[in-house]
């Protein structure tokens, strides 16, 4: 077992991991994931860092699913399509938005998006949180 913050990490990585631990204490899993991914890229030989990345991804998938709710719910756009550009969304979020037609449920959208579930759920959860997307009654 390796513990984060061990003295044998290089200094930049050690600092990143200390910061990540602080974020974890406040349950900021997305922030912690970003730092672990950066650390893993800096030290590609440390497979334990990839292990932590997967732990956080699996934790976040559960959180995203909780935010989204049942997969058979149908998302709908809350923002008129001509105003979406003001949100400066990344390309993959724009693609997911383009799939939302008011008839297709989350599970089906996940399937047809061709994206991995982590990436797709992350986008859906962000769109819901930003209230760009809501759920049809």
């Amino acid at each position: 077992m390796t513990n984060v913050g061990d003295a044998d990490y290089d200094v930049p990585t050690a600092a990143l991991l200390r910061d990540a631990q602080e974020l974890l204490r406040t349950e900021n899993y997305e922030g912690a994931l970003d730092l672990y991914q950066t650390a893993a890229a800096l030290e590609p030989d440390r497979i334990e860092l990839e292990g932590y990345v997967d732990l956080l991804r699996s934790r976040l998938v559960k959180i995203y699913r909780e935010r989204i709710g049942e997969g058979d719910r149908i998302p709908k756009l809350l923002v008129p399509s001509d105003q979406i550009t003001r949100f400066n969304l990344p390309a993959d979020a724009g693609f997911v938005l383009s799939l939302i037609d008011g008839r297709t449920c989350f599970d089906e959208l996940l399937s047809v998006s061709g994206m991995g579930p982590f990436e797709a759920l992350r986008i859906f959860a962000s769109l819901l949180e930003a209230r760009i997307v809501g759920v049809a009654p």
Partner: protein, 321 residues
């Protein structure tokens, strides 16, 4: 085996046995005859099982079966006449594709024996400490016991470090990895789905959800898929026995790295509920067979844990070039 190479074996001081595909003795060198069959008949043509006795016979036959069935080198240890040996059983493929075996026995040094004993001696009290910490953690609920819980979590982290070193010691003792058959590769996406389908019922029976987290695509992975499947199943079985604090276990795979350094990481993750976090910070050691499989595929394996996140066993394997 050619006459020339058999002749050379007569000069080797280490005992050597060659078995044919029918399980009979094809050859034993003088070193073997002297040490294992003092005053005995010529062993040629006799079943391999008659060359050894008791527990040694069992260990040798198990290794021979594994070696011949799976066509791979098997390392094991035995003791005969008070002398410890490190044994290697390697397959010999005959022209008709049937598999025989050559067994080489090398005397272990005192240092090697001490290392093996040390690893065993360390594992026992470490396991006991783990059990004690798990029990101590039970009454450590609620705010009043926060200090108590923190101490246990600190202890569990320190214990986890000791387990890490025990695992590395076991890896060192297991010896170098065997070479990878370059032509073999497998579809990791399908393999993970198959493993999950096979194990989901066992997890469900304990009320644990086995979840799968995969990207849309994965590159083919270098190595023997059946061996990786065996490793994942063993890891999941191991996790079944220790994951009862967790509502779910996730089996994940994703590509990492770029260019020539591309590989995939396969992970088994569980993030237990708060009550089980100290226990999760001191994971069980990875089964030796799993370490061996990953090494023979040229990969890496590591188990990591953290009270705030949970634990995961990550395996890195190279993608097929």
């Amino acid at each position: 085996m050619s006459i020339g190479s058999v002749s050379l074996l007569t000069f080797i001081d280490a005992p050597v046995v060659v078995g044919d595909p029918e399980g009979r003795t094809a050859y034993v060198n003088p070193a073997f005859a002297t040490r294992f069959r003092a005053g005995g008949d010529d062993a040629t043509g006799q079943p391999l099982s008659t060359l050894f006795e008791g527990g040694v016979r069992e260990a040798v036959l198990r290794a021979v079966v594994e070696c011949c069935e799976q066509g791979r080198t098997v390392r094991f240890r035995l003791r005969h006449g008070g002398v410890p040996y490190a044994a290697v059983a390697s397959p010999i493929v005959a022209e008709d594709a049937r598999v025989g075996v050559v067994i080489l026995l090398v005397e272990s040094s005192a240092v090697e024996e001490r290392l093996i004993a040390l690893q065993r001696d360390l594992s026992e009290p470490v396991g006991e400490l783990r059990r004690v910490l798990d029990e101590l953690q039970e009454p450590a609920g609620g705010r009043r016991d926060e200090r108590h819980r923190t101490l246990i979590e600190d202890g569990a982290r320190a214990l986890g470090r000791v387990q890490k070193w025990c695992g590395e010691l076991a890896t060192l003792i297991a010896g170098p990895p065997a070479s990878v058959r370059p032509e073999a590769s497998f579809d990791a996406l399908r393999l993970v789905h198959d493993v999950a389908a096979r194990m989901r019922g066992d997890f469900a029976a304990l009320g644990i959800a086995l979840e799968v987290l995969l990207p849309a695509q994965l590159p083919r992975v270098r190595g023997d898929g059946s061996r990786v499947e065996m490793a994942l199943v063993r890891l999941l079985q191991e996790r079944l026995s220790t994951a009862r604090e967790s509502p779910s276990v996730t089996l994940a795979a994703r590509p990492v790295g770029r260019g020539d350094a591309r590989s995939i990481v396969l992970s088994i993750c569980d993030a237990p509920a708060a009550a089980g976090r100290a226990a999760a910070a001191s994971p069980e050691p990875v089964p030796a067979i799993v370490i061996e499989i990953v090494r023979e595929l040229g990969g890496e394996i590591r188990t990591v844990a953290d009270p705030l996140m949970g634990r995961t066993t990550a395996i890195r394997l190279d993608v097929k070039s």
